[in-house]
Amino acid sequence: MTWISNLTTAFGLLLLADSCYSAYEHSALQTHRAASLSSLAASHNAPTSTLPIDITIETIFATLTICLGIVLGTSNLRPIQWRVWAGKIEREGEAGFLNSSGEVEKDYIGNPFRLLESRPGFVDIRKQRKEFAEWVKNK
């Protein structure tokens, strides 16, 4: 998740918390008012006022902001067709699979079939050492 999506989601959560608290306060005020009224006048019930419209707007806006923040934080879409995906690996290498912070994605494994050609279970370590030593000599 990038910083912008984190920021937006956090802001939306703040707004939501604020609107929920305002609604709670409103309902607490209602019960308090009803309680104090009923102690003064025997049967006259003041009509309960509905939730102020700005609390409603704030709640809806907060929900939309949270949704926007989460959507902004999703990772890049990957190709679905096999040949397009394979072509992307061959053509772009690691650079095609960066996540939003610029690092290679955790589950990127490159060409999964290259293990059939490098065969790590059959690594001939003596040959590799010899070749490496020659490469160092020739450098």
Binding site: R83, K88, E90, R91, F113, R114, L115, R119, F122, I125
Partner: protein, 322 residues
């Protein structure tokens, strides 16, 4: 090609391997290597991840490759502390370490004896069976290595890596039809492996050049085409396609006479061949051009392959096969 420490390092260039092994001391010193089993500490400290152990294993292989034996021993020590001595993979890693440290044939014989001993106790220890095959091949005892590999494949016939190793062994000995058979087995197990299709095409091409059988050239053509179907802009596939079409176009007599050959595929007619050649040339030129221009989405290709393609496009007729 992924260059992180989370993937087996066999295919890395020497420079990247050197870079990894130079990171070894810092990675080893960063954590003490003691993973405590107490509940309290595992609540406080970061939990161990599978990536940690994979990193140690790949670091070990890179260090052995570059000659940093001390760091390799330290990595192995931590792995043994965690997984114990009886784990099959750990036994194979210990074997690799010993092989790397061996300096003469007598030591190698001793190591081989040890492998045989382990296999006496557990005949299906796959990592040790693989090590035995590699050691025999490294010592030059190819036919024994092949029979050891075949017995491994009898135990575990769905091991694509072992089939691929068998194909490589046969190819190194010039036994092309056996190599082709082994690679076809790999393709049965992994039908979508575009690089194996290209490899099979390459072996068919070499075999066809040796024997002059145009049916094999036609099959090579099909294999390269399949690898391109499976992977857009596959450099190796287009390169092989161009070589094969050029070969087929340059011997029209042979192609005609083998049209009705009983074995091998039917060679396509020369119009199709020239169209394929044209398409391959165009695509190769595009890849080389975009890669050299430094365009953003085209930098994943290997330097040496691009150089070879450039030479192929410039020469037009003189081709050297790796």
């Amino acid at each position: 090609m992924s260059s992180s420490l989370l993937h087996p390092p066999g295919h890395l260039s020497p420079a990247t391997a050197l870079q990894h092994s130079q990171q070894a001391p810092s990675i080893l010193n960063k954590s003490t290597g003691a993973i405590s089993t107490s509940l309290f500490q595992s609540l406080l400290a970061a939990p161990e991840t599978p990536e940690l152990w994979i990193t140690y294993e790949n670091l070990l292989l890179s260090c052995l490759r570059t000659g940093d034996d001390e760091s390799a021993h330290r990595c192995l020590g931590r792995l043994v502390n965690r997984f114990g001595n009886d784990n099959e993979r750990i036994m194979a890693l210990k074997g690799i370490l010993k092989e790397a440290g061996a300096s003469d044939a007598a030591t190698l014989d001793v190591i081989l004896e040890e492998y045989e001993q382990i296999l006496q106790d557990n005949p299906t220890n796959i990592p040790i069976l693989k090590r035995r095959v590699v050691l025999l091949r490294s010592m030059g005892r190819i036919s024994e290595s092949v029979s050891a590999l075949i017995s491994l494949l009898d135990i575990s016939p769905t091991d694509a890596e072992a089939w691929a190793e068998l194909a490589d062994l046969y190819f190194s000995q010039g036994l092309y039809s056996q190599a082709i058979f082994a690679l076809e087995e790999v393709l049965v197990l992994q039908p979508n492996a575009w690089n194996i299709h290209a490899r099979l095409g390459e072996i068919l091409f070499v075999a066809a050049k040796a024997s002059g059988n145009a049916g094999q050239l036609a099959e090579a053509l099909k294999r390269f085409s399949r690898s391109i179907e499976l992977c857009d802009s596959y450099l190796r596939g287009y390169y092989g396609l161009k070589l094969t079409t050029k070969q087929l176009l340059s011997d029209p007599q042979k192609a005609l006479s083998n049209r009705t050959a009983s074995e091998g595929f039917v060679v396509p007619d020369s119009a199709t061949l020239s169209k394929l050649d044209e398409m391959a040339t165009e695509k190769l030129a595009e890849i080389v051009r975009r890669n050299s221009a430094g365009e953003k989405g085209w930098q994943g290709y290997d330097e040496a392959e691009i150089k070879a393609t450039r030479e192929l496009l410039e020469n037009g007729s003189n081709v050297i096969i790796r």
